[in-house]
């Protein structure tokens, strides 16, 4: 037999690839003609379920939850990347939790009362709650857990939301009293992030956490998986329903999608908009979205540097933003366009309406920039977020039409973080961000407070309104104050909002009892498998 030479191999490969490609090409040509606008449709109705329909829970089974990033730490006070919080529904409880309507409800606290004009809160704790080590939880643990967050040395991102707490004192073994410096309407919501932990576990909290949650940590392979097993002594008798939860890391999102659709994983965290569209005809897999969401993507502009320290430059940019096309190309239509640039999402109870829209108007944008002498700007965004590429290309098209040069630079994420470090200035640059703030407007609008934002924006009047809003307990007065806050933000236009959208997650239809919280996380604590 003639030896296979390299040349013969190459020629054979050419013929083979040509045949396969021709087959693919003919198959592609045989597809229906160019589809109608919005070809890949967002799933409608049941496919975009906010929660999986309830039924009688079934016991047993292993839930495999796929995420594209590894779990790096279990410390709930310093979670770092958002993905790390995916273990919290299993491992931890707090005094409060959220229901599907985003109302704070009882968790480890059975009940609470407030006295002294809202400055004193007394929480009655559940009895018989045990840590995974077997030790009973008491009010001392509550005190320690919250004080750890309030300690500046911990560096917790939740410290600001709890900053009005003056002190916490045990009031007996199963009661804790929180004394506030000022009344705070967001306390119950903020306490959700104050997970109750065991002081003796502090040194190992990041890698071998114990909590009071329905599942205990039994295995942790860095960059691969976390295994949580049912905790037999869980305080909520009859729960949890599943035997085991495996949080599996699959770094490549497309490979993770394949695992999801082939049922190697039962849920997919943070399903990108392009994948949501690809699941539209899949009968076995659902897309879960929150009923309410504050997720917002936006352009950040340095309010302390040229040219964007001038509100007219910010107006110019808004006129050059073809937001409808951004929503189409980056989010497949999954979201709403904030026509007036209001950061408060539509239909939010505190939303103020009636603001004039800022239309896409290239001529107007050109005139405004021209009057300021702006001829060139830079666009910088982290490359790991895939939406910025098509958004930047659409923006560049508008700038080109306006005769302004826009240089695009998609950066490595650490480079971008350096750019937007608090206090850093970046003249002539448009950059990006994704906000996932709290539902309460005090938490939602913190991102525009002086010292709390990355874009050097400062308005003392707004700061004062937000502080008063946080301390006002009367809902009608709060609504009025947050209306004033929105007036200020619409006048100042410190950031250029792109879209209000909802985080989507994938779940196999056999998964029941899950829902997506307002902050985008999949709440799976009370889930079961209906196989």
């Amino acid at each position: 037999m003639e030896a296979l030479t390299r040349r013969r191999f190459l020629n054979t490969a050419l013929v083979g690839v040509g045949a396969v490609s021709m087959g693919g090409l003919l198959s592609a040509c045989a597809q229906p003609a160019a589809p109608a606008p919005g070809a890949i449709q967002a799933p409608a109705g049941a496919a975009a379920a906010t929660s999986v329909a309830p039924a009688k829970p079934k016991m047993g089974g292993t839930f495999t939850y796929g995420t594209p990033q590894p779990i790096q730490t279990f410390d709930p006070d310093n979670p770092g990347l958002a993905n790390n919080r995916n273990t919290h529904p299993g491992l931890f409880n707090a005094l409060t939790k959220f229901d599907e309507e985003m109302n704070p409800v009882a968790d480890l606290a059975e009940s609470w009362e407030t006295t002294n004009n809202g400055l004193t809160w007394t929480f009655k704790l559940r009895q018989g709650v045990k840590f995974h080590s077997g030790r009973q939880m008491t009010s001392d643990d509550v005190k320690w857990s919250i004080e750890r967050i309030l300690n500046p040395d911990t560096g917790s991102p939740f410290r600001t939301a709890l900053a009005d707490i003056d002190k916490i004192e045990p009031d007996g073994k199963y009661s804790a009293r929180i004394q506030l410096k000022n009344p705070n309407a967001t306390l119950l919501a903020a306490l959700y992030d104050a997970k109750i932990k065991a002081p003796e576990n502090e040194k190992e909290l990041a890698s071998k956490a114990i909590g009071t949650g329905p599942y205990k940590l039994t295995e942790y392979l860095v960059n691969d998986r976390v295994v949580l097993e049912k905790y037999g002594d869980y305080w909520d008798k009859g729960k949890p329903y599943m035997d085991k939860v495996v949080i599996k890391t699959l770094a490549d999102p497309t490979a993770l999608l394949t695992s999801f659709t082939s049922d190697a994983v039962d849920a997919y965290w943070q399903l990108g908009s392009k994948f949501v569209a690809q699941l539209q005809n899949d009968p076995n897999h659902l897309v879960l979205q929150p009923k309410k969401s504050t997720a917002l993507t936006l352009f950040m502009l340095d309010a302390a540097s040229e040219p964007f320290k001038d509100v007219k430059a910010r107006q110019a940019l808004l006129h050059l933003m073809d937001r409808k096309t951004f929503l189409e190309v980056a989010y497949f239509g999954l979201g709403t366009v904030p026509d007036s640039n209001n950061p408060v999402p539509p239909a939010h109870p505190f939303e103020k309406t009636g603001f004039p829209p800022i239309p896409y108007d290239v001529k107007k944008g050109q005139e405004l920039f021209s009057a300021l002498g702006v001829k060139e700007l830079a666009f910088k965004a982290p490359a790991v977020n895939p939406e910025w590429k098509p958004i930047s290309e659409v923006l560049e098209r508008s700038f080109n039409a306006a005769g302004i040069t826009l240089t695009i630079e998609l950066q490595e994420v650490n480079e971008w973080l350096k750019l937007v470090a608090i206090g850093n200035k970046w003249p002539g640059v448009i950059t990006t961000n994704i906000y996932l703030p709290g539902w309460d407007p005090a938490l939602m609008l913190r991102s525009w407070e002086t010292g709390n934002n990355r874009h050097n924006y400062s308005n003392k009047e707004l700061d004062d309104i937000l502080t008063r809003g946080k301390r006002e307990m009367d809902p009608a007065k709060r609504k009025d104050l947050y209306g004033q806050a929105q007036d200020t933000l619409i006048k100042d236009l410190p950031t250029a909002q792109i879209a209000h959208w909802k985080w989507s997650h994938g779940a196999h239809k056999k998964m029941k009892g899950m829902f997506v919280r307002y902050d985008g996380f999949l709440e799976w604590r009370d889930a079961w498998i209906d196989a």
Partner: protein
């Protein structure tokens, strides 16, 4: 012939492309191949054929230049290490071993991260990470040749060391090099795509074959042609370069004359 066609197509892209590569037809995005868009459209409705033709300019420039740089760096080092042997060989090869201990992407990230995501630094980075492979191949080939009679004869005739290395030995060592060069070009195309994913490669709105592959991969379930067509062009280029390498080897190998 195929390579010539590809290069000509890249050069003549402005004349051949049916649309500007920046022209968006958003309502027609993700279209399959049709008469209006022969190779379909991308996620913003840009014509794939136009994108691929213009991307060819970037991909070919970056990959061929990077591989040329790798050859210019790697060949002399490999020949020197292989011919001299001893301490020279040890120093060069141990230095390269240290270099190769780092993943290539990491080195490329470091270089481009330090100097910025500009094409010239991208080419420099790709050339540097490919050079050690060229050096190793050259060294191995030269070690096999240095003891042969023609080398001894050249020495006996008083030929200088550089002449012996580059005029006598090097032509006999081109065979594995041509194969490595064609693989190096393909590697450069794909490495550039990885760097683009991290924000250190070709920047939008420009596109390379690699970035088209990288973006298209996430849509492979619904628009497989997004990956198929850039992949075909990469395959055709690498195939042509391999055939060219074979032809050059046949032409240049003194043993075949």
């Amino acid at each position: 012939m195929l390579l010539i066609l590809i290069v000509l197509a890249a050069v003549a892209a402005p004349a051949l492309a049916p649309y500007s590569p920046l022209e968006m037809h958003v309502p027609d995005r993700f279209s399959g191949p049709t008469f209006a868009y022969l190779l379909g459209t991308d996620e913003t409705g840009r014509d794939m054929l136009s994108l691929i033709l213009y991307a060819a300019r970037i991909s070919l420039t970056v990959s061929v230049t990077a591989e040329t740089l790798a050859l210019l760096l790697g060949v002399p080092l490999g020949v020197l290490a292989g011919y001299r042997g001893g301490l020279t060989d040890d120093v060069i090869m141990r230095a390269l071993d240290g270099f190769l201990a780092f993943p290539g992407i990491l080195l490329a990230l470091t270089i481009v991260g330090m100097f910025g995501p500009h094409l010239q630094f991208l080419i420099l980075a790709l050339g540097i990470i490919n050079a050690p492979y060229v050096t190793r191949i050259m060294r191995a080939a030269v070690v096999g040749e240095r003891g042969k009679d023609y080398v001894l004869a050249a020495r006996a005739l008083g030929a200088t060391v550089p002449r012996i290395m580059f005029r006598n030995i090097l032509p006999n060592c081109l065979s594995p090099l041509t194969v490595q060069a064609s693989l190096g070009v393909a590697f450069a195309i794909l490495t550039e795509a990885s760097l683009s994913f991290l924000g250190l490669g070709v920047q939008p709105p420009a596109a390379s074959w690699g970035t088209l592959l990288q973006v298209g991969y996430s849509y492979i379930r619904v628009t497989p042609w997004y990956v198929l067509f850039p992949g075909l062009f990469i395959f055709a280029t690498v195939w042509s370069l391999s055939m060219l390498g074979d032809a050059l080897r046949d032409a240049l190998d003194p043993r075949l004359r």
